[in-house]
């Protein structure tokens, strides 16, 4: 997600459309990104560390964005 102090003109434009269409309760919209990463094998601490490194160094830019990691041992779908 963009950090709270970073201007998010896309989110602001979306909010403007919501408000224009009568959704007056919407006070703010911020737009982020979601990456779904599939891995081979079980989710271990080691694997999560590796994903964390990718999230911190490649997938997000720490100057303007924050990130959170959610793990799910699903059926691969």
């Amino acid at each position: 997600m963009p950090k709270p102090e970073i201007l998010d003109p896309q989110g602001r434009a979306i909010q403007g459309v919501f408000n224009r269409d009568g959704h007056e309760l919407v006070l703010g919209v911020r737009q982020g990104k979601r990456f779904e990463i599939s891995v081979n094998g079980p989710i271990t601490d080691e694997l999560l560390d590796e994903i964390e490194e990718l999230a911190a160094n490649v997938l997000s830019n720490p100057i303007i964005e924050t990130y959170a990691i959610y793990a799910d041992e699903g059926d691969g779908e």
């Binding site: 102090e5 201007l7 003109p9 896309q10 490649v58 830019n61 100057i63 303007i64």
Partner: protein, 222 residues
């Protein structure tokens, strides 16, 4: 000896040929480099040209900043080799951490393509030493993500150390403190959002105000 300036082409780069032409018009020799190269072919300086490397996927400049050649660029820049990042190249320099801050979506969400007046505020860098302080230049901008963002603390540091290289006369995109270009503390690495390489030939551009950047690196003096 002629200054050999490497111009790196990434998939999606647009302005490598204009950059090469500008380098030659400025008195240097342009050396084409490919993003998968591992070494810099002994060049004296590097230009990271504009365009949409990797289609701006993930973030503008993010995937190019981890291209194979960038290890050599980062190492050489830290040793003092002059590096100029123009537009997408500026975005890459921020993504590698060679320059502070980040370029984000223009405040009005428009892609802006037109000549803009900028003022040179630092004439000590490898790329602006030809200019007199406070020189006004007319240089084209063409970007969708040119809004320069940095933390308040980072901004104070840039201003205190005189690392702002150029400012827009009329801020077109919401950049903090009207910043159009910045440099690192050594002054060898410069990132600029406007395109000096598009202002080097009166026949096809907004003028020739961009030549000074290329005269600077080629060692031309008045």
């Amino acid at each position: 000896m002629t200054t050999r300036v490497g111009v790196i082409t990434f998939p999606g780069t647009l302005d490598d040929r204009d950059a090469a032409t500008a380098i030659a018009l400025g008195g240097g020799e342009a050396v084409p480099l490919w993003h998968k190269d591992k070494d810099l072919n002994g060049v004296d300086a590097i230009v990271l040209p504009g365009g949409f490397s990797y289609g701006d996927y993930l973030r503008a400049g993010a995937l190019a900043s981890v291209s194979p050649i960038m290890d050599a660029v980062v190492d050489s820049a830290k040793e003092g080799m002059p590096v100029l990042g123009i537009c997408n190249g500026f975005q890459m320099l921020c993504e590698t951490g060679l320059l502070p801050g980040a370029l984000t979506r223009n405040e009005n969400l428009n892609f802006i393509c037109r000549p803009e007046l900028i003022t040179i505020t630092n004439t000590k860098t490898s790329w602006t030493n030809f200019f007199q302080p406070n020189t006004e230049l007319l240089i084209p901008i063409k970007n969708g993500e040119g809004c320069y963002q940095i933390s308040d603390e980072g901004l104070k540091n840039l201003e205190a150390k005189g690392l702002v290289v150029a400012r827009y006369n009329n801020n077109p995109n919401g950049s903090k403190n009207d910043i159009a270009a910045i440099c690192n503390e050594a002054g060898n690495v410069v990132g600029i959002m406007p395109h000096p390489e598009h202002a080097v030939d009166g026949l096809v551009g907004a003028g020739v105000d961009g030549l000074g950047f290329f005269w600077s690196i080629a060692g031309v003096t008045v």
